[in-house]
């Protein structure tokens, strides 16, 4: 399982009803909907991605959550 960002990339207003149906049909878990309806953080299994993508059409993108580190200039030993 991993977190994925569902994001509206179309023109105009996203169809909230459609997205809720997809989430329900595909049994996706909402991790964070504070940016809903344009952006929603979802949890899903990698194997389910291929199943979900065609349901979304061209107006929604699904990208993996990515991590950013606190920048640091300290020199470090290479761990062997």
């Amino acid at each position: 399982m991993g977190n994925y960002i569902l994001q509206y990339i179309g023109d105009g207003t996203p169809d909230v009803q459609q997205v809720q149906e997809i989430i329900h049909t595909c049994h996706l878990r909402i991790v964070d909907d504070s940016l809903s309806p344009r952006t929603i953080l979802l949890e899903l299994a990698e194997a389910d991605i291929a199943k979900v993508r065609p349901e979304l059409g061209t107006e929604w993108s699904l990208t993996p959550e990515k991590e950013y580190h606190v920048p640091d200039t300290r020199r470090k030993i290479k761990k062997g």
Partner: protein, 491 residues
């Protein structure tokens, strides 16, 4: 020369929100030149200076859509500042998706440790200092050696291969300057006495920006800091913000304890013991880093979105990673369309490629520079000195700073004194420090342009901010891949 794709700030074709100059550029100005004649475009420069940017149109998608142009890497920063409102994407080529099974040679060599080095770290009065991180390299090129943190008695023992040490770095979290020593033979024990920070010391930030003598900025400018959180610190006033980390209190946007965001905030807006570049600015803190962990791009997207809703004028992002991120791109784009400029750190990968989101064309990418004799002898910062040097040979681009044609400006980022949580002060290095120096200076300069700040919050406002700043940037004599257009300086 390289090929770049020019697009309007939003969508792939111009629309009613597109900056008229961008629309004109894409539809009228360039169209006759699709025959591949080279154009000479005027660069926006300080008074009495003139410069032409050579642009060759190679291809076009629709009359009011994307243009493929040829442009010199060295002129890219000039182009961005002279013609704001474009998304500029480097032409990229994709290979067929063939997988090559590489033989991975595991380096399972057991290190031949035959020397134990006991190090004691104290202050100048001989008091032991705990939690000081020390790293000693016996082979710097391969990053071989040992590291450790001092105990309450100020002691740490390192296990090394041989007595010859190529480089040793001592990194205190706060309150003291670090220590650096190269090419020496260590006995069984070593004593290091660290110098405490004098907050009146003239570091490189205060060399270029005499912050203590500057008045507070007159206009109300709001800067959003997307980081580890800010404060508490007696020199800082945090006017608002949000903790964007999942399962943490959204109202707890003070520093998570790591100090990075507090240091960044102090460079921008501290007032008291130390002075930031734009003292008087309204600081909004958006915490995206959980303690000891990385920040999700989703937290960063939330933070940018909230900064737009909070009507920030500038956003500081002293963070980055390799590779683009469509999610963050869409929010930076949204910020730009809401008249908000995002300043981003180039990254600290020893002259590696400019990190994302600095590499994204609608953000302002900041490299780090330093200046000799703006830090004491034998401190960690001495190891950051590396060519190229500027017109003034004391100025240098920090050895750790990432560089590349995406760089827009450079700013001081070596040995910067600023605030640290719980009313302490710390020295930090990095493009993380250069970025707020540029953001702060942009805030100070823009405070003298109330007519721009009063504009409706649209893309045109962000365009005008960039144009206003562009004539207040001076080259320090580095190549554009190192300094972009140069450094923001007061008139």
């Amino acid at each position: 020369m390289a090929n770049f794709i020019l697009l309007p700030a939003t969508q792939t074709q111009t629309n009613e929100d597109t900056n008229p100059k961008v629309k004109n550029f894409l539809t009228t100005v360039l169209e006759p030149a699709v025959k591949s004649e080279s154009l000479k475009l005027s660069a926006r420069m300080p008074a009495k200076q003139e410069k032409k940017i050579s642009v060759k149109v190679l291809d076009s998608i629709q009359e009011d859509g994307a243009k493929l142009v040829q442009l010199s890497d060295d002129e890219l920063a000039d182009f961005r500042f002279s013609y704001p409102g474009f998304r500029i994407i480097k032409e990229k080529f994709y290979k067929k998706a063939i997988i090559y099974h590489e033989a991975i040679e595991k380096k399972a060599k057991k290190s031949q440790v035959n020397n134990k080095l006991q190090i004691t770290v104290t202050d100048k009065a001989g008091n032991p200092l705990k939690d000081i991180y020390i790293v000693a390299f016996t082979d710097f090129a391969n990053r071989l050696g040992d590291s450790g943190t001092t105990t309450a008695k100020g002691k740490v023992t390192l296990a090394l291969k041989g007595k010859r040490i190529q480089r040793m770095y001592v990194y205190p979290e706060h309150s003291y300057w670090g220590y650096y020593r190269a090419s020496f033979t260590a006995a069984a024990s070593l004593h290091i006495a660290l110098t405490s920070i004098d907050i009146n010391y003239k570091d490189v930030l205060r060399y270029f920006y005499p912050t203590a003598s500057w008045p507070s900025i007159p206009a109300s400018i709001r800067v959003g800091i997307i980081d580890t959180g800010v404060g508490p610190h007696k020199d800082l006033v945090v006017s608002g913000g949000m903790n964007c980390v999942k399962d943490e209190d959204p109202k707890d946007f003070k520093d998570n304890g790591e100090g990075h965001g507090t240091h960044v905030a102090g460079i921008i807006g501290a007032s008291g013991g130390v002075h930031g570049v734009a003292a008087g600015v309204e600081i909004f803190s958006y915490r995206v880093f959980p303690v000891g962990k990385s920040a999700s791009n989703f937290y960063i997207m939330k933070a940018i979105n909230q900064a737009i809703l909070d009507k920030c004028d500038l956003i500081n992002m002293s963070l980055g990673e390799e590779g683009e991120d469509e999610g963050i791109i869409s929010y930076i784009k949204q910020a730009y369309n809401a008249g908000v400029l995002c300043f981003c750190a180039n990254g600290n990968d020893d002259r590696g490629k400019v990190n994302f989101p600095a590499s994204y064309s609608l953000s302002v990418a900041v490299s780090a520079m330093g200046r000799k004799k703006t830090f004491p002898a034998s401190v960690v910062e001495t190891s950051s000195i590396k060519a190229p040097y500027g017109k003034d040979k004391a100025n240098f681009i920090a050895d750790f700073s990432n560089i590349g044609p995406e760089t827009d400006v450079t700013a001081p980022g070596v040995g910067i004194i600023s605030t640290f949580p719980d009313d302490r002060y710390a020295i930090m290095d990095g493009t993380s420090m250069a970025c707020p120096a540029a953001t702060g200076m942009a805030a100070r300069l823009l405070s003298a342009a109330p007519e721009i700040l009063a504009m409706p919050r649209t893309q045109a406002r962000a365009d005008e901010m960039l144009k206003y700043l562009s004539v207040r940037i001076r080259s320090l004599g580095f190549k554009p891949t190192f300094e972009g257009k140069g450094m923001l300086l007061s008139e």
